[in-house]
Amino acid sequence: MRLLQWMSLLLVAVAAPGVVLTRDPKPQVVTLSFYGLLCALMFFIFQAPDVALSQITIGAVMLPLMILLALTRMRRHNQQKQRKGSK
């Protein structure tokens, strides 16, 4: 149990700079989702199942999904802009 706790804490500690240093938003969504899962795992190991469930639904699914949708919408807008520009 002790070992698991330390491992989950260290994983989160290592993953956080990883997310920050992924400068391109699209891969960053993937790392963020993974980071969210790691956090959820940590909550679970630290006996916080309620929080773990929230974290999985929000941090690992909903938030990356919203970012992905926002990115798609922005890309679409930029493409339309370019098409209009080329015409």
Partner: protein, 252 residues
């Protein structure tokens, strides 16, 4: 200020901040040495007083329910804000495409369609289960609501764009969001009418461990679930709507 200057400034202040943090944290009780008293008292009395077995939810929806009321209205205000931001051209686009909703299927393989629909059914059942069993097991209205809100997206993934559009832009979503949030506050006010303090339990507590136990905790949890479903459906649908419109236009 350019990037380099900002980074240097940050590094200097971060170093100072790190020293302060380390110094202060060394004096905290070490991990695993929880001193209380809040946790000790509440775990002793919660099950007895509130007939709820999940103490976290007993705190969230009863002892500190007023916090949760604020929290739900944070979500409510954020949804209003997002709707406000996307107000003008979305309205036009919506009108333009309301007739295009009849032809609604995008080409995807049958295997994908059937499996996503099966998963969607599972998610809905699971979301309902989580949202209604908040007082007994981990998870509550909030988590259940988020699960329910992500179900329609599977519909979109399965290529059933028209159905997605129909479900997510119906007035029901709005009713759910406002009704859930308002209902929570109304439950609080009802306690005043019953002659006690705001958000006091005023319904029978039931038997500990039953589905219909713990009084207002279960009711509030369901309210929150309804609101969160409505709120998050709107949040995701706002982005998807534009994309959906473009795809429908491409097809017609």
């Amino acid at each position: 200020m350019n990037l380099r200057a900002r980074t240097t400034l940050f590094l200097v202040s971060a170093a100072a901040l790190a020293v302060i943090f380390v110094l202060a944290f060394l004096d905290l009780p070490p991990m695993g040495d929880y001193r209380g008293p809040y946790g000790y008292v509440v775990t002793q009395v919660a099950v007895y007083e509130r007939h709820a077995t999940d103490v976290v939810n007993a705190i969230n929806y009863d002892y500190r329910a007023f916090d949760t009321l604020g929290e739900e209205f944070i979500l409510f205000a954020a949804v209003l804000g997002v709707l406000l931001l996307f107000r003008p051209d979305d309205k036009k686009g919506h009108k333009r495409n309301s007739n295009a909703q009849e032809q609604d299927e995008l080409p995807v393989s049958d295997a994908l369609r059937i499996s996503t629909q099966a998963i969607m059914g599972l998610m809905i059942v699971f979301g309902f289960y989580i949202a209604t069993h908040g007082q007994l097991t981990p998870g509550s209205g909030f988590q259940g609501g988020v699960i329910l809100a992500s179900a329609p997206i599977l519909l979109y993934l399965a290529g059933n764009v028209g159905a997605f559009e129909k479900i997510t832009s119906s007035a029901l979503v709005k009713v759910a969001e406002c009704g859930g949030a308002g209902g929570y506050a109304i439950i609080g006010i009802s306690a005043l009418l019953a002659g006690t303090h705001f958000l006091t339990n005023f319904v029978p507590l039931g038997t500990t461990g039953d589905l219909f136990s713990s009084g207002t905790i279960a009711v509030i949890s369901v309210c929150v679930g309804v609101e969160v479903t409505g709120g998050f459906v709107q949040l995701t649908q706002i982005y998807l709507r534009k994309i959906v419109e473009a795809e429908l236009r491409k097809k017609s």
